[in-house]
């Protein structure tokens, strides 16, 4: 019996749970999504179709899902973690075998009417299974080699499958989020030093493999890295995305060019303006002020998660909350770095703002777990 169940009698029950939801967090999430609707309305040229309407519906569904998840006791989520992880893993294998091909990557799987992106699901279930693992593992064994190898396998297996899709962005996110949870759980520093060293080795290997038979990434990914390192070498070809994105950002200035006045997005100079590059439209139309506002909202969401995590004594609750927050952080950090020309174009959406159903709903459901941890905290 874990800490939570032991103290179960002091947690709120029934409809009273609603009062224990972290409402400021709900508000912040809605604010971020609201900015998303605004930008989608703008890039559609002042129209609710084709993006705002479906996005808003999905947000409502996602919000509903979050509340439902929040009502379910956190120990239930802990108990199904392993199962959820296995299902996600199975789905990853399924897309590898039968998944449809879109944009050069196998990422989707159709289950009845639902089109699911298993890698999205994996981001959450990986965090859940790792949190559950460290909840089960006595703290004094955390850093023993045998007990380090198991979570590493749990991380590496899905990462490898996602990388094979190929989806470089998500695989990096999985690796970073999993590693982050291990770090939070208290695994010894030395392991991370080793992993970082190994990463450097891997990067070297990736570059060494280029052009050989065992090439690890697709050609377009290599080209994206090339143009990231020097986008000016091909401003109309592969470097076009980054160059145009920087132009849009920079031309926004302090306060932006005004709502719906961004020429870069309105005239289609921005690639994938409704998805991965939506931040550039925000920055172009609302300038530095707009960009920083969104950044602050994001950081406040992280802050609320950290507060929730620290205020609970349950290991699973705090680790899963922090893991989800870290995931969220990695999402927007990678996306923003990408559009600002600090990271390669890897295809990571801006959480809650970019158009796209599966990512948003999974994310909201994950915040449901954070809410559940908050609600079912013994008081």
């Amino acid at each position: 019996m874990s800490y939570l169940e032991y103290h179960a009698k002091s947690t709120p029950t029934g409809l009273r749970k609603i009062f224990y939801l972290n409402w400021p967090l709900v508000l912040l999430l809605s604010a971020a999504a609201g900015i998303g609707f605004l930008m989608l309305y703008s890039v559609a040229g002042g129209s609710f179709t084709p993006w705002v309407e479906p996005q808003a519906k999905r947000f409502m569904v996602g919000l509903g899902a979050m509340l439902v998840v929040a009502m379910v006791p956190i120990w239930f989520w802990r108990n199904i973690s392993v199962l959820a992880y296995l299902i996600a893993l199975l789905l990853l294998v399924a897309v590898e075998l039968f998944g449809s091909v879109g944009m050069g990557a196998q990422r989707w799987v159709d289950i009845g009417p639902i089109r699911l992106q298993p890698s999205e699901l994996m981001k959450i279930t990986l965090v859940m299974v790792l949190a559950a693992y460290y909840d089960w593992l006595p703290a004094n064994r955390t850093s023993r080699p045998l007990f380090v190898i198991l979570p590493v396998l749990l991380i590496v297996l899905p990462t490898f499958l996602v990388l094979k899709q190929p989806d470089l962005g998500t695989s990096i996110l999985l690796l970073a989020a999993g590693g982050g949870v291990m770090f939070l759980a208290g695994v010894h520093w030395a392991y991370f030093a080793a992993v970082i060293a190994a990463t450097i080795g891997l990067v070297t290997a990736v570059f060494q493999s280029r052009g050989s038979d065992w090439q690890l990434l697709k050609d377009y990914q290599y080209r994206r890295i090339d143009t990231f390192l020097d986008p000016s070498q091909d401003p109309l070809g592969a470097g076009y995305h980054i160059t145009q994105s920087k132009i849009a950002l920079g031309s926004g200035g302090w306060s932006g060019r005004g709502f719906m006045q961004g020429t870069q997005s309105r005239l289609n100079f921005l690639p994938e303006k409704q998805t991965d590059f939506i931040f550039t439209t925000l920055a172009e139309e609302f300038g530095f002020v707009g960009g920083v506002t969104l950044l602050v909202i994001y950081m406040l969401i992280i802050l609320f998660c950290i507060v929730t995590a620290i205020s609970t004594k349950d290991r699973f609750s705090s680790l899963v909350t922090l893991g989800i927050a870290l995931n969220f952080f990695l999402f927007f950090a990678v996306n923003m770095s990408m559009v600002m020309g600090l990271a390669p174009v890897v295809g990571v959406p801006l959480p809650l703002v970019s158009y796209g159903g599966s990512a948003m709903m999974v994310l909201l459901a994950a915040f449901g777990i954070v809410q559940s941890a908050n609600v079912h905290r013994p008081r």
Partner: protein, 648 residues
């Protein structure tokens, strides 16, 4: 598993500590992102704003309308007419091939044009219009308009295209325009960007080419907002260009048309110069061609017909063609003699039919000789020996100097293609060109306008004008540009004694009006219109001693290209000279028979400003002239009719 509280506390502390570390890292990274944003959006904002503007704004050129060309009476010579073309926007057409098939049922489409259109289509973006057919008639366009529902994506467009309503009359003067070619661009140092617009018409030959910049004007600009695909979203502003300047020529279209018709199918050239101010009233090279063919894009067959014609219709013989002036040069030699005091008008020379010079015999055209000849007789009957003798005395350098004074051997700057300088040789020229000494035989040849001597018909007309006026009359083709009068070509008095000029003019009068003059048969008898002239027959082959012994072969018995050139220069009226005319008929035979009659008709036409009365002609010629006038009038009407059809 029941955990003890101490262990729980420990692990909780660890998580909290690590959370703070990770949270700090996240905050730091967020700070870095904010700094980067600041750098891009605040520090470099101006630079990126500029780049964004460059992205979205495209500058399009607005082609200026080309200046039009008129004759001295305001008759249009080159104009811009609406030209219709069919364009297709592939994106709107849908099934491109089906639409083309429908269209070809309505109007004949050139397979070559279609192939080019298909290539263009593959290369350009689907929303950009592609031209399928050009230079269509209004009928074709209406057919397309009526059938519009069956032709999605097809629109008739109207543009401006150069049209020359006078057809072949002005082909050699005005030249023609055509689309700018890569070759044209390669010759230009810094081509005006407007030349790069597709189908831009540009002067290729003649006046259109020489005064291209003035006629073209300045392109306007239009700033448009474009999206990433290059599609125009809206126009931001426009700055109108400057239309090309309208030009008025000194020429008289009616006279030009008459002269062209009068030359007919001869390979010939004729020039009419206004002695008062140097205005070129008519300048015809025959045969000619229709410049409109070149504007539309001439067919290979038509072009070959033009280039393979032995009469060289594409050559402008009036200024490009240079001919030995023959006896028309004798006035120059005479004036050189008079001005240098070598001869007096009354002094006579004995002509036995030939002259022995350093062991070589130079013949007079008249084998029997002219006997005693003075200046007047020598010109009137065109005695060669008189000039051989005179030239030896005066020397080539002085003859050459006089030739230059009278406008020969110097380039007159006219806005036409390849204006030739001709040649009035002197000693220095020969040693420079051939590295040889000048021989006395060369002087003898030059004295009668043979040998190295070369002049264009235009120069010969200028020479006549200068003799008639005593001024350095300079030919002028452009009367005014955009209403601003060009400087007159009246010239300043030549440094030649008026007495000497009068003697030469009197002799020229005798050529045309003395019973024994070589031009007597082509005289004018109307009072106050009397003409003074000089015939010329220039050899294009050497006559060997053997041939001379056997009797010189007559022109009629020679193949066309070996016959003599026929020349005639004149001015009229004698008392108050108004026009100078020169006529050269290539391989026409004798100047008095082939060139003089044409010159007389042209002169009368110019003097009367239209068809002259028959009583200006000697009684014996009138019936023939009347028939000729009727024939030319009928031809003119017929041409005007077909020309009218062309424009419709």
């Amino acid at each position: 598993m029941k955990r003890n509280p101490k262990e729980l506390d420990n692990s909780h502390r660890t998580v909290t500590r690590r959370t703070l570390v990770l949270g700090g890292l996240q905050l730091g990274f967020a700070g870095a992102l904010a700094m980067r944003m600041r750098f891009l959006q605040v520090d470099q904002a101006d630079q990126f704003r500029l780049l964004a503007e460059e992205n979205r704004i495209n500058i399009r050129l607005l082609a200026p309308s080309r200046g039009e060309i008129y004759d001295r009476n305001g008759m249009i010579i080159a104009q811009n007419s609406p030209s219709y073309r069919i364009v297709m926007v592939p994106e709107d057409a849908g099934d491109v091939e089906a639409v083309i098939a429908n269209l070809s049922r309505l109007l004949p489409l050139d397979e070559e044009d279609l192939e080019r259109a298909r290539t263009e289509m593959r290369r350009s973006r689907p929303f950009l219009p592609i031209t399928l057919a050009d230079q269509l008639s209004w009928d074709d366009i209406s057919k397309v308009a009526v059938n519009a529902p069956a032709l999605p994506g097809i629109t008739p467009e109207v543009g401006l295209s150069r049209v020359y309503p006078q057809g072949e009359d002005f082909a050699h003067v005005v030249g023609y325009v055509g689309p700018v070619s890569d070759y044209d661009l390669s010759k230009m140092e810094d081509p005006d960007p407007v030349l790069l617009t597709p189908r831009f018409q540009f002067g290729k030959v003649g006046f259109e080419s020489k005064l291209e910049e003035t006629l073209r004007g300045k392109a306007g600009t239009k700033r448009v907002e474009v999206n990433a695909a290059g599609r125009v979203m809206r126009e931001l502003d426009r700055r109108e260009g400057v239309a090309g300047a309208d030009m008025q020529l000194t020429m008289d279209a009616e006279l030009q048309s008459y002269v062209q018709a009068r030359l007919g199918r001869e390979s010939a050239a004729a020039v009419v110069v206004d002695i008062e101010n140097g205005d070129i009233r008519a300048i015809c090279s025959s045969p000619s061609f229709d410049p409109n063919l070149f504007v539309r894009g001439i067919s290979v067959a038509d072009y070959r017909a033009l280039t393979e014609d032995p009469y060289r219709p594409l050559a402008n013989k009036t200024v490009q063609g240079t001919y030995p002036p023959g006896s028309t040069f004798k006035m120059v030699t005479a004036l050189a003699g008079l001005e240098n005091g070598v001869i007096t008008p009354e002094e006579t020379t004995w002509c036995p039919g030939h002259l022995e010079v350093s062991g070589r015999r130079f013949h007079c055209w008249k084998r029997a000789g002219h006997g005693h000849v003075n200046l007047l007789d020598s010109l009137k009957s065109s005695c060669d020996v008189y000039y051989y003798d005179l030239a030896i005395k005066v020397g080539i350098d002085r003859i050459s100097e006089m030739a230059n004074k009278l406008g020969l051997g110097i380039r007159h700057d006219l806005p036409m293609s390849a204006v030739a300088a001709g040649l009035a040789p002197d000693r220095a020229w020969k040693s420079r060109t051939y590295g040889q000494d000048w021989l006395v035989g060369d002087t003898v040849n030059a004295s009668i306008g043979q040998g190295y001597m070369l002049a264009s018909p235009m120069q010969l007309a200028v020479m006549s004008a200068r003799i008639a006026s005593g001024r350095s009359v300079t030919p002028r083709l452009v009367k005014s540009v955009d209403g601003v009068e060009e400087p007159s070509g009246a010239g300043t008095p030549l440094d030649i004694s008026e007495t000497h000029l009068r003697h030469v003019r009197k002799a020229m009068y005798a050529v045309s009006n003395d019973r024994r003059g070589t031009g007597y048969r082509s005289r004018i008898i109307a009072d106050g219109m009397r003409m003074a002239g000089k015939t010329g027959t220039s050899q294009v082959r050497n006559i060997t001693a053997a041939e001379r012994a056997a009797g010189v072969i007559r022109n009629e018995d020679l193949p066309w290209e070996r016959r003599d050139h026929a020349l005639f220069v004149c001015f009229a009226p004698f008392d108050n000279p108004k026009y100078a005319v020169s006529v050269v008929v290539e391989h026409g035979g004798g100047g008095s028979t082939a060139a003089a009659p044409i010159a007389r008709d042209v002169m009368l036409q110019a003097l009367y400003g239209g068809t002259p009365p028959l009583d200006a002609y000697p009684a014996g010629d009138r019936r023939k002239i009347e028939a000729q006038q009727d024939r030319l009038e009928r031809e003119r009407l017929k041409r005007a009719e077909s020309g009218g059809n062309d424009q419709a």
